[in-house]
Subunit: 576 residues, 2 copies
Amino acid sequence: MEWIVRVNTKTGKILKEKASQEEMRWGGRLLISKFLLREVPPTCDPLGRYNKLIVAPGLLGGSSVTTTGKFSVGGKSPLTRGVKESDVGGEAGRKIAALGIKALVLEELPDAPTTTVLKVALDRIELIEMPELKGRLVSETIRILRERFDKQAGIVCIGPAGEMKMGGSGVAVSGPQDIQVRYAARGGLGAVMGSKGVKAIVVDDTGAPPKPAFDEALLREAGKALVQGIMADPKTENRHKYGTPAVLTLCNEIGILPTRNFSAGQFEKAGEICGDKVAEMIAERGGEGRSGTPCVRGCVISCSNVFSDAAGKKIVASIQYENIALLGSNCGIGNLDDIAELDDLCNQVGVDAIETGAAIGVAMEAGVIAFGDAEGAKDLVRQIGRGTWLGRILGNGVVVTGKVLGVRRVPAIKGQAIAAYDPRALKGNGVTYVTSPMGADHTAGNALETAKTVNPLGIENQVEVSRKLQIRAAILDTMGLCLFTRPPFTKNPDLFLPLLKGRYGWDLAYADVQKMGLDVLETEREFNRRSGAGEEFNDMPEFMREEPLPPMNSVYDVPMEEMQRIWEVKIPENVF
Amino acid sequence: MEWIVRVNTKTGKILKEKASQEEMRWGGRLLISKFLLREVPPTCDPLGRYNKLIVAPGLLGGSSVTTTGKFSVGGKSPLTRGVKESDVGGEAGRKIAALGIKALVLEELPDAPTTTVLKVALDRIELIEMPELKGRLVSETIRILRERFDKQAGIVCIGPAGEMKMGGSGVAVSGPQDIQVRYAARGGLGAVMGSKGVKAIVVDDTGAPPKPAFDEALLREAGKALVQGIMADPKTENRHKYGTPAVLTLCNEIGILPTRNFSAGQFEKAGEICGDKVAEMIAERGGEGRSGTPCVRGCVISCSNVFSDAAGKKIVASIQYENIALLGSNCGIGNLDDIAELDDLCNQVGVDAIETGAAIGVAMEAGVIAFGDAEGAKDLVRQIGRGTWLGRILGNGVVVTGKVLGVRRVPAIKGQAIAAYDPRALKGNGVTYVTSPMGADHTAGNALETAKTVNPLGIENQVEVSRKLQIRAAILDTMGLCLFTRPPFTKNPDLFLPLLKGRYGWDLAYADVQKMGLDVLETEREFNRRSGAGEEFNDMPEFMREEPLPPMNSVYDVPMEEMQRIWEVKIPENVF
């Protein structure tokens, strides 16, 4: 039996209802899109009483299948004013699923400002006032919660930025042994959680009975095939050794690495901040540093890391490509220690490093501090946490920052910062940024992998590429699988079938799985259409259509009509 | 012959073209809507190169007809992201029309920040660099321009807020003898002008030949009938004596006077800030103070004033109802001297007093300063002019202020502050705020006049009322006539015919005039539909639908579907 748990943050009332037959078919991103369209008025105030913060494991969430400890956080985005789903690793997802919770929904608004903790356990779900957590950094919050609650509990929380309802704030999740902090970073979901007065969700699955699969043997066998397929792929070892920073060198080579507020696609210090350098420094320094650590228990890829300082003491875990690009090259900062510290500061105050790095880049262009001023940038992130006027501007993301500081070159689409792949030289990502219901989010359909087969500077086929990638991402986000599990599905998309049959007993064909991905996109698109977040109103920023990006010197020239063709392109029978 | 003057602010090139036959039929607000839909991509960046700032006298602009010295300023609004037309008095309109200029269009963007003055004269139109004007307050700007240019020239300029491209900035126009400053205040058009690098437009009509009317005698006769009709109306004397502040007492009585960030509709100090009090203080103090002064030459209503301090020295000219309500009661400030000083500060830094008063009210709710803290409020407006971080937040208007300060009760629709008539107790205005292409702008269709005939607390007939008022306003804004000239047209709508025949020789029926008003609204609505500024995405703020407004204790409960019916209601043959 699985449950939908609804928490009314106004009355404190908590409702635990059996998931309906229809709801049982939903998970992760699909569930979030369905709940939003069903229950949240699309034009509502994202920080008002009608928005909901939804936490949902994927369909395979909490099973023995690798990476499915990931889970989805969603709601109407304060940045894009459209639907937002952000998936994340850490410990909580597995435990939420272990408790049989299909969705945890924070509803309504408290009448007066409050700082509460939602404790979720087998016997009891309760909202507890914990004013001592007010304004606390993320690591302090986790530390204080550990004193009161189970040491093994999964923690989902926000930093001061989320409490201040800043549009750039994310939702943090504690990693194994509290070494890493993972983030459902994008779209301002931390502010939605903050608006509900909920500082943290503590998930304690003590005593939860094993979750029976329909056919455990089949599930395990399919899970094993998945692992074998992942391990057999050459990219996996690379990811394990170098993590996501591995792509930095490629991005720099093809000229899409955001540099100095997206004014160039190559950074002269790329060699100082690339994946090799990350791994090399971690290996040299020893101490607490680690490459190849998992973000969720049981992940065979383990692409995360612990980045330590010269004395071997952890600065941040984990440092990722996006953080390095936005907080590093995009700010003209070419030193990994500085970037790691900036990244940690973002994690502590509770903001998305992409949104914040973009906002700092714009502030640098405005002359608030100079490009390359790492100490100045750290001060800015600390100011976000303290809520100074300037900090509040930056914490509200790149669009507010550009508006308030009077900067025209604002790298954002639909109110949200563009991820670390400049669309002028990787046009498939441009199509994703503009047309995806998620907006300028690389995880919604990252065309980097096609850069060798489809000319990244050309218009041709980018719409087809993006369509395929977007459907893929939607399927994996619905399953609760990491995007990096894709290789075996590419070889054999039917691998989804024993996974779902083993878990639920469903007899599906691959076409049914693909339909789920389409259903996600259509449901999200319908929500956005009703909310005003459609692509027709949210084209690429003008400077990207006009200012050639060195060194490729290309502009973004995919016409809106060409992009809108995405809804009519013929979908391949198999998008993997 | 009439001209369309286009100024390319990038190249400095100026093009003076004969108005086409079709363009000859357009004026004021109608012209702006047509130009925007024809030439400005609806989804463009309002502060980017594709937006245009359009200055256009009305169809009767610059004729002998009373009040037609008014003119329209327009463009895509940085606040609403839709079409914006703001009309304004002062000296410039008459002179622009006298030079035969039907529209003055600022296009493109300068390559580097610049401070230029557009000098418009009979023999020559030129862009002149005047770096000494950078950052100057409006009165300083006018003073410096007077040293260089003709003492009688009409001046259109922006303050530092417009230069900093703040969303709350307006466009200032010098009044007769530079005593008053008039404002095309709403919608952030000052920022659009600022984005073009144009600090001021200086209009010198020296040597302009008299503008021949088709039938001068007919025009004069009709103009005389208009004046007689205006003078015969009992409201005119009241307006002349007390100005727009005359309505404050009524607004307070029916409970729609914005008080302490729209948390009440009555203010305990209303008696201290009402129209009687304004007139009384002006009369008592003597000196430079005046009631009943015109905002444009030859206006027989003359509803403006010069408000002076106890020593008889001018504080501000003119103080209006909206300013008193938003900067006064809405901020809990009940002293006219303070309000006048705040109003002058807004005029000097170059921001809309409505937007700014609403932003300060939100800042007060956030606890930045206390309600009623007049000195604190003055400091905030000064900070806008200096461009401090907090000043930049406030200068960008109430929505940015609410977002950055984390306030949920934000009195705005479509990104723009609500004017000084709380829609919860005057629901016809709510319909106008939501459905008008202008957004929360009372001049687009103010239902106050219907408060005695249509229950302001009821839903019934509000849509019909708003529809009628919106068409009326669109007609008058197209003619270049002040809204206060309405009474004679109510008695005899055919009075438009000799005015237009006398001016242009057109043989029209009243139905053709009404069609012009409809054409305005349809053209604007089409622009907004394409830009994403339609009402379907921009409902009343949630707090106004939920929080009863004392003392009437009503909420705004006109359903969106009811409001959207406005596009289908049967339009009376005569909306006057």
